[in-house]
């Protein structure tokens, strides 16, 4: 009876909440108050796929849902990205019958990495993807090792781990385990043998703390690493990007499945690869997965194209407090050989909580914009002076840089007839302030 009431209440709140445009975590929160172990009492489908990690969760989950649905599977998933236990509870209860059975073949859960241990205390995933572990929102998360320890508590022995082999932190979850499915990117022409970046989180082995070496880097601490002391190394992968050409916008998985990229970044390739791996493990053949991922444009609004007067631009949502996310966006702008202007906005650091901490700006490799083809750089928002100081420690000539207090002033400064494409790099908290002043496609 308690179960029945909890489900009814959650569904009602969800229904009303949708009409009022409220988020998806509140109904689950109420449900957990009424019945704290409600998730234990639900009849779950045979496939429970969980995805966590610092970056790429939302995009990966969206692509998995897309591929599975296109192949006739019924998928229940947290589309809005409410990824703590409350949001997952809303998802599960909203997707189930009044008798408590989830009406789907597959339950697909994006989970916040710090809170996964609470969610998966009640739900045991059959498959668990961990994408990467980066310095991310340190104001809440502490640091990657703190998150690692929290995630370790969320892993059940019977769960099939699906791990990014190229990230040494993630690979520690599979250290000494036999049954792991590894995915990763093979050697690429864009790899470097020397580390490039501001800080090197792979300098010391995350497992034994002895100095670690790399034969090549894809980006930051992602690549082919090995620790001579404890034997931690990049594992051989079952699902592999065997070739990739970012300029041409294509990637090949396992030597035979060629995918055209809507977003030409290595980041996107990892998300596609993770989605491909999961879809394969649910029994969908590669030739049926490939067309679904071909040219797939994410609907989560992370990449938005727009017009400003006669000018064209792309906004790349990049997470504040996440240097690797920023670096990826900077690389996309820097690779535009036709020439571009770049606007970076740091106005509110987070949309979810207050902080005035900008230490993370110092971890971002802004030097990546030191390129002939990057013509002008505009630094805008409340924290524009912090950005200006940070840029003064790059080799980028000062005359290329303009510092503006407000987003409004930045839009005005870009509203001219220059031919260069505009790249806007900013976060969820600030992107609306820009997009409300331009014409989105």
């Amino acid at each position: 009876m308690k179960k029945f009431i909890t489900i009814i209440v959650c569904k009602l709140l969800r229904f009303v909440g949708k009409i009022l445009g409220k988020g998806s975590s509140m109904p689950g929160k109420v449900a957990l108050k009424i019945c704290p172990d409600i998730l234990n009492r639900i009849n779950l489908p045979p496939y429970i796929i969980a995805v966590t990690g610092s970056n790429g969760k939302t995009s990966t989950v969206e692509m998995i849902a897309h591929v599975l649905t296109a192949n006739g599977k019924k998928v229940a998933w947290n589309k809005e990205g409410s990824n703590q236990i409350e949001g997952v509870t809303t998802l599960v209860l909203d997707s189930c019958t009044l008798g408590g059975r989830v009406k789907a073949d597959i339950l697909l859960i994006e989970s916040d990495e710090r809170f996964a241990r609470y969610t998966f205390n009640y739900i045991t995933p059959t498959h668990y993807v961990i994408t990467n572990l980066y310095r991310d929102q340190l104001t809440r998360n502490g640091h990657p090792e703190w998150v690692y320890d929290a995630l370790l508590d969320s892993i059940h022995d019977e769960t099939q781990l699906i791990l990014n082999a190229d990230d040494p932190y993630v690979s520690c979850f599979g250290y000494g385990k036999k049954e792991v499915v590894w995915f990763g990117v093979g050697e690429l022409s864009t790899d470097t043998t020397e580390f490039s970046g501001v800080y090197h989180d792979g300098a010391y082995c995350p497992h034994c703390k002895q100095p670690m070496s790399y034969s090549c880097y894809h980006y930051d601490h992602i690549g082919f690493y090995q620790c001579e002391h404890c034997g931690l190394k990049r594992n051989d992968t079952a699902y592999t990007v065997t070739a990739a050409d970012l300029e041409a916008g294509r990637a090949v998985i396992n030597g035979q499945y060629e995918i055209t990229l809507a977003l030409k970044s290595l980041y996107n390739i990892y998300n596609i690869l993770a989605a491909f791996t999961v879809a394969s493990l649910t029994g969908i053949p590669g030739e049926k997965i490939t067309p679904c991922l071909n040219n797939y444009v994410l609907k989560n609004g992370r990449v938005v194209t727009f017009a400003l007067g006669s000018r064209r631009g792309t906004l790349l949502t990049s997470k504040h407090e996440n240097s690797i996310s920023y670096n990826q966006s900077l690389r996309i702008a820097a690779a535009d050989w036709e020439g571009c202007d770049v606007l970076i906005i740091v106005d509110a650091i987070s949309r979810k909580y207050f902080t005035g901490d900008v230490s993370w700006l110092w971890d971002i490799d802004f030097q990546l914009l030191h390129q002939e083809n990057v013509r002008r750089i505009l630094l805008a928002g409340t924290y524009c002076h912090d950005l200006a100081v940070r840029f003064s420690f790059t080799d980028i000539p000062g005359e290329k840089i303009q510092v503006l207090d407000t987003v409004e002033a930045a839009v005005a400064a870009l509203d001219n007839d220059r031919k260069e494409k505009i790249y806007v790099i900013t976060c969820f908290s600030d992107k609306g302030k820009f997009l409300s002043r331009v014409k989105m496609d």
């Binding site: 640091h143 703190w146 010391y204 902080t355 110092w362 002076h385």
Partner: protein, 238 residues
Amino acid sequence: MKLLHLYHDIMNLYGEYGNMRILTRMLEKNKIDYELDCLSVGDAVQVADYDFIYAGSGTERNQKYVLPHLQTLKEELSQYIEAGKILLMTGNSFELLGSSITDAQGKNWQGLGLFPFTVKEQNRTRTTADAVFTMEGMEHPLVGFINKCGTIEGIDLPLFQVKMGLGNEGRGGVEGIRFKNFFGTHLTGPLLIKNPYFLDYLTTILCKNNALDHSWMEEEKAAYEVTLGKLGERLAQS
């Protein structure tokens, strides 16, 4: 002038290298010659050779990893501090100079014992907060951020008064440790960039010159005012 950034590659929670970048810029702008060494675990360190030593914040595991190496420098560091030379340790690096650190598993790690304080860590809740601190002898408060998982007891000579954020033993109170020119604080990241007046304070001691040129610090000071203003608004609301 000889400067040392100790454990630069492992006690680097985020952006700590920025402290040495701004310090050396200050020296360059004032035409003061310097040499900067970046050393880490396994390197031979001649502590007495330096005029300024800095170590930053690290993960709990990295902090324990550097401890045995730092132990080998105990006597030299003690003499260095007694001699009144500048030692700046931020984040959990300064905890290593206390008598002990008890980790979340209950294991006791012997510190260098140069000061009698003790540290107790836990692993359930990360304690983080924006910070506004004041210091005797400095007109401008410091701004910054604290990111830790422990509490410290037994510090008689704190560095700061907490106006906002976390102190040694919890919310509010006093923070850090000061003895002669040893400055220990849990402020993380590039605090010398965020606090141009504190940079000025330290370099004044370092160069024994209270007329250093800081006219070049316009953006740094503007950034500081913005952060102080934002934190002040926040403080007024609470």
